[in-house]
Amino acid sequence: MTLRLRTLRTWLVWLVYAFLYVPILVVIVYSFNDARYTTEWKGFTLKWYSALAANGPLVDAALNSLSVATLAATIATVLGTLAAICIRRYRFPGRKVLHGCIYVLTVSPDIVMGISLLIFFIAMGVQLGFWTLLAAHVTLALPFVTVTVLARLAEFDEQLIEAARDLGASEWRAFRHVLLPLAAPAVAAGWLLSFTLSMDDVLVSFFVTGPTFEVLPLRVYSMVRLGVKPDINALSAVMFTLTIVLVLLAQTLTRTRRK
């Protein structure tokens, strides 16, 4: 590679990172700016963060989101892991259909899932709210858990299960003592991913939750539509920090498998 090409490459990499990060970093910086309307720097303050904490509806929505995300991630992780195990380990009628179904769901547009679930819930006469949102988020996250766990199971030695059964373990105990501990990092990463998916989802939640149950992304959505506000800057900073923590956690979990 010529020197010029290499310089070009380095420049490109840094430009892309700048493109990805500058807006977020600017928001974080402004979240400490003691000015309401201007982009001028008016001094350091934490008041937008305390305003955030005092924003009742926002805190409620955040708590709602946390509870839905935790539950949805947990259920999706259980179901998604089971699906991965079935696809990887068992031969049954419809296995390939299931496999295909999972992959299609990971790429199918969220808005389609949102409206199809809306129609479904209305047709069933279900009140939109916590339960419909929970079911929707589980469905949204499940395929991603399956795909994550499947990737891990791909390098799993089938003989280990046979060894366990040979040593007297039932199907369930082989799963419990051998498969699960070995798939654990991917299962945990799947949980984290599900959690983020649920915390961030706008497109599905928009259709399937009712007025009685507001979640954080929708609350943020209605705030953001009104334009730039210092307290949203603070909120963005908080959420971004949280994301970094989750990503690092997920990375450590998936990294261990390579060793």
């Binding site: 380095t10 982009t39 299931l98 369930w172 706008v202 539509r225």
Partner: protein, 317 residues
């Protein structure tokens, strides 16, 4: 065959039950609704009609569809043009450096896209960073706003969805056996021709996966046009949303959504064809493995073959 395996049976049943109830059934319902008439008291009335599809030929919708496809295609192309060399650079960086470089892509990928869209406002708005930079450089004499319009929506889509392009590309480029390029050059191919004849065909599944993960969400995510585009911008996602929540015309909204589903199917077929080609190339001369083939149930044509990133990719856009 007749052996009872409670764990296995229960697992398969519960997974199928969930997906059947909350994925298959709703989608069938959605399809059904596209053939029903709009209801007076209820949302739909049970009368069969093709009319909803005919109504999609309405010039207003055709204009929205055209605008959506154009914006989505443009952002996909720009993401690909930025993403491919970037992913290539990261994938060929020093081995110890790669995880860190990749981590810097994964973080925005996991970050709430609302937040990221919001962050763009500060850059693009009048007297925003972009305007100030241009003024400082002397390119413009007075504050400019990039907000509210096609350009802002386009920037927003590119900005939010770029990581979704990079990750599958990275996965397929990283998997590529670099010795193949050496071999091509050894056989007399120039760098460009080696890229064209070796790298590009072998990373095609990653390209298709990346395009799929950018193109489809950019059609659907209605909040980017709403936040950045203002009242003027209306894309297919906004149209669907409006039919469901404002106009209360479910059948029309549902019919519009089938266009997205049709595009999805097309892209999946494209992905399948490209990954099958790569798989076939790779399998040539490989061992037949007949002995083990019967024992491990492994589908072969997994959709995300060659696109590890796509597996975790997509997300909330």
């Amino acid at each position: 065959m007749t052996r009872r395996r409670p764990f296995r049976t229960a697992s398969i049943a519960v997974v199928w039950l969930w997906l059947g109830l909350f994925a298959l059934l709703p989608n069938l319902g959605l399809l059904l609704v596209t053939f029903l008439e709009r209801g007076e008291s209820d949302f739909v009335s049970l009368v069969f009609t093709w009319d909803n599809y005919a109504r999609l030929a309405d010039p207003v919708f055709v204009r929205i569809l055209g605008e959506s496809l154009w914006l989505a295609a443009a952002s996909t192309l720009v993401c690909l043009l930025i993403g491919y060399p970037f992913a290539y650079a990261v994938a060929t960086a020093r081995r110890g450096l790669r995880p860190w470089l990749l981590l810097l892509v994964v973080i925005p990928f996991w970050t709430n896209s609302l937040i990221r869209t919001y962050a763009l406002i500060i850059i693009l708005k009048s007297q925003g960073i972009a305007s100030n930079v241009l003024m400082a450089l002397g390119l413009v004499s007075e504050p400019v706003s990039f907000m509210y319009g096609e350009f802002a929506v386009f920037t927003g889509l590119t900005y939010t969805l770029l990581p979704f392009m990079i990750l599958p590309l990275y996965a397929s480029i990283e998997k590529l056996d670099k010795r193949l390029l050496d071999a091509a050059k050894d056989l007399g191919a120039s760098s460009l021709r080696a890229f064209w004849h070796v790298t590009l065909p072998l990373t095609l599944p990653g390209i298709v996966a990346g395009c799929m993960l950018v193109f489809l969400p950019s059609l659907g995510c209605f909040y980017i046009p709403e936040i950045l585009g203002g009242a003027k911008s209306m894309l297919i996602g906004n149209f669907i949303k409006n039919q469901f929540l404002v106009a209360r015309d479910w059948p029309l909204g549902a019919a519009a959504s089938t266009i997205m589903t049709a595009l999805l199917v097309l892209m999946i077929i494209g992905y399948w064809l490209s990954s099958r080609r790569v798989a076939l190339r790779e399998r040539k001369g490989a061992d037949t493995g007949a002995a083990t083939a019967g024992r491990t149930p492994d589908g072969g044509h997994d959709m995300t073959h060659g696109a590890d990133g796509a597996r975790r990719a997509r997300g909330r856009a």
